[in-house]
């Protein structure tokens, strides 16, 4: 059963009875949870459990069939994706959606969009503050590339990067939004064990450096258990457990549905 006592008093993101159906298929079934500020929150479950659908709802890519979502107390259930990004929720994608034909630097610079004010006229004419903004954006983007260890290849096309580097670049791009909440969809996919260890450390660093709240979907159970403060377990669209790693590990429903099958 879900332990209500763990919903503490500092929520940043709240889902209330979220539902989503595709045709006759129920992808997310009456899911409620709260994510606290500065938490690393894990989302696990077998394939097709509805994890990515949940991410897509939080980031506005698909609308919930019913239910509500709140971010810092404001309802965001039906906001369009760019407004949710603007509000402070950034994400990466399970199947990596970089702008492949553009350089790493351009990928990150694009994500500075909401922190740049110069519009059409000022931009075209190069009137202040456009030029200084451009320079600041480029600096910021380079810093972020440096942070993920890609600054020496800033001018290479994103599609030419190896898989693991593309994932890192996507994180840098998401960070360029200066988000409050960072959603990572299977960040460790395709990484080797040592890369996975580094990733855990890196996510913790990000949290403290940027004062972030991190929500991540991950299949690699040891990584999730070691990294997350709390874990939600989905199965067939339903939330079957929510709690700290120890609670989730010993939850019989979880063992049956997920860990047991491993």
């Amino acid at each position: 059963m879900i332990d209500e006592n763990l919903t503490t008093s500092n929520p940043i993101l709240e889902a209330k009875s979220l539902n989503r159906t595709f045709g006759g298929l129920v992808a997310v079934n009456n899911v409620s949870f709260t994510v606290n500020k500065n938490e690393i929150f894990g989302l696990i479950g077998p394939n097709g459990a509805g994890k990515t659908t949940l991410f897509n709802m939080i980031t506005g890519l698909i609308e919930p069939s019913s239910g509500q979502m709140f971010y810092q107390g404001e309802e965001i259930s039906f906001l369009r994706p760019h407004l949710i990004a603007k509000a402070g929720i950034a994400r990466t994608f399970q199947n990596i959606r970089l702008f492949g034909d553009l350089s790493a630097l351009e990928n990150v610079t694009i994500a500075r969009h909401i922190h740049t004010k110069s519009g059409f006229i000022r931009g075209i004419l190069g009137l202040p503050p456009a030029p200084s903004e451009e320079i600041r954006n480029k600096q910021k983007a380079l810093e972020l590339l440096d942070l993920v260890g890609l600054s020496d290849r800033a001018f290479e096309k994103a599609r030419n990067f190896p898989y693991g580097d593309q994932r890192r670049l996507e994180i840098a791009r998401a960070l360029a939004l200066e988000p409050q909440v960072l959603l990572l969809d299977e960040p460790a996919a395709g990484m080797n064990p040592s890369e996975k260890n580094q990733l855990s450390e890196f996510i913790r660093e990000l949290r403290s450096q940027f004062n972030l709240t991190v929500i991540l979907i991950e299949h690699h159970v040891p990584l999730v258990m070691g990294l997350c403060d709390r874990i939600a377990v989905l199965n067939f669209g339903k939330l079957i457990a929510l709690g700290d790693p120890a609670q989730v590990r010993t939850n019989p429903a979880v063992i049956e549905a997920y860990l047991g099958s491993d």
Binding site: T59, G60, L61, R80, P81, H82, L83, A85, K86, A90, R91, F93, R97, L98, F99, G100, D101, L102, E106, T109, I110, A111, R112, H113, I114, T116, S118, G119, F120, G123, I124, L125, G126, A130, E133, E134, N137, R173, L177
Partner: protein
């Protein structure tokens, strides 16, 4: 020189206008939207200029004042822009093929209207549109500044926040949205800028061609300009400019080649009359072998790299 200009004046001005129309198609393509609406706005701009100059301003003696041409161009730009927004907002919710079809429908509706309304002169169209210049070549005074302005605008655009938003949407609309970019806003903006440009060019073109009718800005015309953009290049504004010029000149070039002595008769005839067949073949070959067109940004980058290394 004077002989050359009087012989080729018409062609040179046409080439510059071709480049401008190429740019008007390129603008929506910057956001990845294949819109075939440009010829519609081009036709609209032409009708605005034709109607204003023959029925409203009616300057009877001497040359038609250039100021009035500029005024007509501005009005055509504003009307096209407003219509661009009105059509763009609903139409740009559509993606890919749906948008292409919607813009084709839009152009067809405009064409049928222009064929049947009294104000547009029905099937005959409007003629005797007054001339602001004595010779065709002098139209360069209007179209060259227009082209330079558009090129500077696009050069800047490709290097600022706005251009990056366009590119992001072209590369991956969904990811662009997740990066805080409003795809609808920027798609409508790019579409509208293209519409304004096409309308303005149409206004000059009506004077330049002296007559205006429903054959201007049809579906075929859009294919020809689409060719020029796609073969020229869809990743930098230089592509459509060069493409627009080359493809406008191509019929003349083919005709000139056909006139060279010693060509077999069938080939000479084909070069003269088979222009559109060659266009079509170029489209097919171009899309298969040069999906980003001939002029790509990498071309410039590589040159820059070489320079910086030496």
């Amino acid at each position: 020189m004077a002989g050359f200009l009087s012989t080729y004046g018409f062609l040179i001005v046409s080439m510059v206008m071709g480049a401008l129309l190429g740019l008007s198609l390129y603008l929506p393509l910057m956001t990845g939207q294949l819109s075939l609406a440009s010829p519609g706005f081009y036709a609209l701009g032409g009708y605005i200029a034709a109607i204003l100059s023959t029925q409203v301003f009616k300057v009877s003696d001497g040359l038609y004042p250039i100021g009035l041409v500029l005024l007509e161009m501005s009005i055509a730009g504003v009307v096209s822009g407003v219509l661009g927004v009105l059509v763009g907002i609903p139409a740009l919710r559509l993606r890919g093929i749906y948008l292409a079809i919607a813009t084709i429908a839009f152009v067809e509706v405009l064409r049928v209207l222009s064929l049947n309304l009294d104000i547009t002169g029905g099937a005959v169209g409007i003629f005797g549109i007054p001339q602001p210049f004595l010779t065709p070549i002098e139209y360069l005074w209007i179209v060259i500044p227009l082209l330079l302005m558009s090129m500077v605008l696009l050069y800047r655009l490709e290097r600022i926040r706005l251009g990056r938003a366009f590119t992001a949407i072209r590369e991956d609309e969904l990811a662009a949205g997740a990066m805080g970019i409003d795809p609808t806003y920027y798609k409508v903006l790019a579409f509208t800028l293209g519409a304004i440009l096409a309308g303005v060019v149409g206004a000059v073109s009506a004077h330049f061609l002296n007559t205006w009718n429903a054959r201007q800005g049809t579906f075929d015309a859009s294919i020809v300009y689409l060719t020029s953009v796609l073969i020229g290049g869809t990743r930098t504004f230089v592509g459509p400019v060069l493409g627009g010029m080359v493809f406008t000149a191509l019929p003349e070039v083919l005709r000139a080649i056909a006139d060279t002595a010693g060509l077999p008769l069938w080939l000479a005839q084909f070069l003269r009359d088979g222009r559109l067949i060659i266009f079509g073949l170029l489209i097919v070959l171009g899309t298969i072998f040069f999906p980003q067109g001939l002029v790509t940004p990498d071309l410039f980058k590589r040159r820059k790299d070489r320079k910086s290394q030496s």
